[in-house]
């Protein structure tokens, strides 16, 4: 039977003085292990962080943060109010006040990833004891999903951090039954939503959990107070829009997000998340839960609803799907998997206890090594001419932006196939860049993006001096790629910059292929 989870326990306040903690050898060893795990997680999150430049989302979030920090080059190019709340961007802007750099921004994102490892340890320890906490943290430290996402300036890393703190507060509430933890959970849930508004769907998981586990259900007063605290925190989003007279922007985004057509099929997350988290983690998490199905308690209920309910809602209800959107389930999966490794009931004779321990250690080590290898491989992917949003930087984008900054006159305008490349060029190149594929129909476009009405006429009038073709956007929008190339031909485009990247072919040979080409056009 699982040890800690089934113990009928209550908790008493018994804090040890700090000096005692410092002299407790067991605690010091545990701290050393934790530091080592966080060090490993930090290494994977920080190693060679600037090898590839920003992707579109990273450019936008860092651009917003730089605008908040008062960067005069990026302020006119990146409006502060776009599709999401601004908690992470505001925090990032504090760091960018000393200067904007992509590596600096990624380090802030990575810091959230490293902090999440610590919270996962606390969560595992809280629910199942220190060994499970330690293994949970180790899994979280090396799982490719956590590593890949927290190496990017995305909102999902900070959202996962705040979501995990919320989960910890809920777990602690369930454990000690003190409403102060429920209030803390409400505040943390509010911050999670301020990191990224899609986190609001986690409320479904929380409601589901309390609906299923009656013994842990709060009293309605506690429940209402926690909800009010959460609403008060989230109200900052609305207050900021009101202060800036941008409530209309908020409405536009809400309508647009509600009406967007799906970008991936229902099975998208099943295809991309398990390999990203690690098949071993998935197998251990769900296998362990299934194995102990009859004896599972509220702990397992909390973790499973935290994983399964959002996964189902994001797959079936939310039309727009992204690789990184479910990162916040990784901590719960890590704890479930660690629980199986450390505590899974194995029938054995007393003299085989050592053997069982060795077996558990071997499974854990095998899992961690396999995850670490996969993560390492993901940090050094073979270059490709296609691109999955959220899976990493955009090869060649930064170098192209630097060229634009150095060679395109101030005030020059560029036209790309799609808005992703436009964002990257705007961030690194500091030049206004619009995209051909942005629909003139306001119902069909992100309100942040400015459409190019009659691009042919605009080119004829000299409003754009450069056209940018890139293979990544061309793969996604072949029609607009052809359109752009037709303009290149019509307006006597001359290739003035070509970004090459080495791409490995099936036969193993590597050759340099153009991924981004900038054409100078003549409007006469």
């Amino acid at each position: 039977m699982l040890n800690a989870s089934n113990a009928g326990t209550t908790v008493v306040p018994a804090r040890r003085p700090f000096v005692m903690v410092l002299t407790d050898r067991r605690l010091l060893t545990r701290a050393a292990w934790l530091m080592a795990i966080m060090g490993a997680g930090g290494f994977l999150r920080l190693w060679d962080l600037g090898r590839i430049g920003f992707n579109s989302d990273e450019a936008v979030y860092t651009g917003q943060a730089a605008a908040l920090a008062g960067n005069p080059h990026l302020q006119p190019l990146f409006p502060v109010f776009r599709a999401h709340p601004l908690l992470f961007q505001v925090l990032l802007s504090l760091v960018l006040r000393t200067g904007t750099s992509d590596i600096k921004a990624r380090m802030v994102a990575a810091a959230f990833g490293i902090a999440t490892i610590l919270v996962v340890y606390l969560l595992g320890k809280l629910l199942y004891g220190a060994p499970v906490g330690m293994v949970s943290a180790a899994i979280m430290a090396v799982t490719p999903y956590g590593v890949v996402v927290s190496r990017q300036v995305l909102l999902d890393g900070p959202m996962a951090f705040f979501a995990t703190v919320t989960l910890y507060c809920l777990a602690r509430y369930c454990l000690v039954r003190d409403p102060r933890w429920l209030y803390a959970a409400g505040a943390m849930m509010g911050l999670t939503i301020l990191a990224k508004e899609t986190a609001a769907l986690l409320l479904v998981a929380i409601f589901e959990f309390f609906a299923l586990v009656r013994t842990r259900r709060p009293r309605w007063r506690e429940w209402s107070a926690a909800l009010l605290i959460m609403i008060a925190v989230v109200a900052v989003y609305v207050a900021a829009l009101v202060v800036a007279h941008r409530t209309h922007t908020g409405e536009q985004y809400f309508l647009w997000q509600s009406a967007r057509p799906a970008n991936h099929s229902y099975g998208f997350y099943i295809r991309v998340v398990p390999p990203a988290v690690g098949w071993g983690v998935i197998a251990l998490a769900f296998g362990g839960a299934a194995w102990t199905w009859r004896s599972n308690g509220w702990r397992e209920g909390l973790l499973l609803t935290w994983v399964l309910v959002p996964a189902a809602v994001f797959s079936l209800v939310v039309a727009i799907k992204g690789f990184q959107y479910l990162e916040f389930i990784a901590p719960a999966l890590s704890v479930l998997a660690a629980r199986t490794v450390v505590l899974a009931p194995v029938r054995h004779k007393p003299r085989q206890a050592r053997l069982v321990q060795i077996g558990r250690a071997a499974v854990g080590a095998l899992l961690l090594v396999s995850l670490a290898i996969t993560s390492w491989q993901q940090l050094n992917p073979a270059p490709t001419t296609s691109f999955l949003a959220g899976s990493g930087g955009l090869p060649g984008g930064r170098e192209t932006g630097y060229w634009v900054d150095g060679h395109v006159p101030q005030g020059g305008q560029l036209l790309t196939i799609g808005p992703s490349m436009a964002n990257v060029i705007q961030f690194y190149g500091h030049r206004r860049t619009l995209a051909l594929s942005v629909s003139p129909n306001p119902l069909d476009r992100n309100p942040s993006y400015e459409p190019v009405d009659n691009p042919d006429q605009q080119l004829r009038q000299g409003n754009f001096q450069y056209l940018v073709w890139d293979t990544f956007s061309a793969h996604r929008s072949p029609t607009f790629s052809s359109k752009l190339l037709s303009y290149v031909s019509k307006y006597h485009g001359v290739a003035v910059y070509t970004q090459l990247i080495p791409v490995r072919q099936r036969d193993g040979h590597t050759f340099k292929t153009p991924v981004i080409v900038i054409y100078e056009v003549i409007s006469t």
């Binding site: 302020q75 802007s93 507060c169 505040a187 301020l194 900021a240 202060v243 800036a244 001096q465």
Partner: protein
């Protein structure tokens, strides 16, 4: 005074003979200033106040001005104030010498409305003006480069007359607008000076018709080219193949920029895009934008200056009394990496100032007394610093967002503090789960 002028003119004529030979002896002199390429475009038919009368910092329309419909009456009843024209269509405004004289009103500059009333025209259009909404590119250039607000047309009226001043630094023979039957003979032009000095030059013409010259029918199809392009009124520039080859279609300008063959001095004139009423000012603005953008993006930008101005006032109101013998003020702008940023230049200038700068920059002898005495363009440049980085001016001014960052940041940080405070409160004041006691 007259005797002095004759002496100066004689000396200048002597210079015309002697200087070119001296220049040929020292081939292709370099420029005195870092400006190695000067491009000058002549547009048509607008006064300074019509385009920049409301430009901040410029000597523009006087506050509260209201022009009487009849100069003989002192009453201001029915007076007309300058007004924003916007997209209103405009007709071709009469801009003859009689209209000019009435508008001038012995230097009082208050006769614009009366001038048209006297002709039996009830229009108030000449009192209209454009602003940044109508001319975003020109105003953008003014904000980033140099706007001249004391730039006068060299002659009171006449496209042909003014353009003659532009290339020859003097008036036409007999000060006539009409073209002499045999052309302008041997009167020297700035291009003769350049040719003699071995300095490369070209005259770019929008929609150039090589067969339309002073010898063709000056009232027939495309005959306006003889007024817009003074060089086709000189026998030597028509007959001598070498000289004639310098007059080319404007499309060649773009080719020259790309192929590296932009001459040191380029004069250019538009045709269908010359902005003269009732023409579309946007077409002119678009042309100027294309010409300047191409230059800014070319290899020549770091050593170039692009200037454009207008060959007369077009009948529009202007509040400033011109110097004796000059016409009303016309818009004039200068773009160059050495141009002072956002300067409104108050130096008194005219078309011959362009000649003066050209002569100074390439060490050429003056053509006549006016260009010899006129003010140089040098006050618009700053050669002490290096060239400014290339900058393109957008069609529409980008308005900065209101700075909401501090308020937004404070709100979010407040939320963060509240969240952390609640979590800490719970952490510090509730029971620890570390010590577990079985019931």
């Amino acid at each position: 005074m007259k005797g002095y002028r004759i002496i100066v003119d004689l000396a200048l004529m002597a210079g015309l003979v002697i200087w070119p030979q001296a220049a040929i002896a020292s081939p292709a002199p370099g420029s005195v200033t870092p400006i190695q390429h000067l491009v000058v475009l002549m547009q048509s038919g607008h006064s300074f106040d019509n385009y920049f009368g409301t430009y901040p910092g410029a000597d523009g329309i006087t506050q509260g001005v209201c022009l009487r419909p009849e100069l003989s009456k002192t009453s201001t009843n029915g007076c007309v104030q300058p007004f924003h024209l916007g997209n209103e269509p405009v007709q071709d405004l009469e801009h003859s010498l009689s209209v000019w004289s009435r508008q001038y009103d012995n230097g009082l500059m208050d006769g614009t409305v009366a001038a048209y009333r006297a002709l039996g025209l009830g229009t108030n259009t000449p009192m209209g003006y454009y602003d940044s909404h109508d001319l975003p590119y020109y105003w953008g250039v003014a904000q980033n480069y140099v706007l001249f607000d004391h730039f006068f047309s060299s002659a009171p009226v006449g496209t042909r007359l003014n353009r003659f001043w532009w290339v020859a630094g003097r008036s036409t023979p007999g000060n006539l607008e009409s073209l002499p039957k045999g052309g302008y003979g041997n009167i020297p032009t700035i291009f003769d000076r350049l040719e003699a000095a071995g300095v490369s030059w070209k005259f770019y013409v929008q929609g150039y018709h090589p067969n339309v010259t002073f010898r063709s029918n000056t009232r027939g199809k495309n005959s306006e080219q003889t007024a817009w392009v003074p060089l086709v009124d000189f026998p030597r520039f028509v007959d001598q193949r070498e000289l004639n080859s310098h007059i080319v279609d404007m499309s060649q300008y773009y080719t020259d920029l790309n192929s590296g063959t932009l001459p040191a001095v380029a004069f250019m004139t538009s045709a269908q895009s010359n902005e003269s009423p009732p023409g579309n000012i946007q077409a002119g603005q678009q042309l100027v934008r294309q010409l300047t953008t191409s230059l800014v993006m070319s290899r020549y930008w770091r050593s170039s200056a692009f200037m454009w101005t207008y060959d007369d006032w077009g009948g529009w109101y202007d509040q400033m009394k011109p110097p004796q013998g000059y016409g009303f003020r016309v818009p004039a702008l200068l773009m160059s990496p050495y141009a002072k940023k956002g300067q409104v230049n108050h130096t008194v200038l005219d078309y011959t100032s362009i000649l003066r700068f050209t002569e100074y920059n390439w060490r050429l002898a003056p053509l006549a007394s006016r260009d010899y005495r006129s003010n140089n363009l040098l006050s618009a440049f700053d050669f002490t610093a290096g060239p400014r980085p290339a900058q393109l001016i957008g069609q529409a001014a980008v308005l900065p967002e209101a700075n909401v960052a501090p308020a937004v940041s404070i709100l979010y940080l407040l939320a963060m503090v509240v969240g952390i405070a609640l979590a800490l409160w719970a952490w510090l004041t509730t029971r620890s789960p570390d010590e577990v006691i079985k019931k």
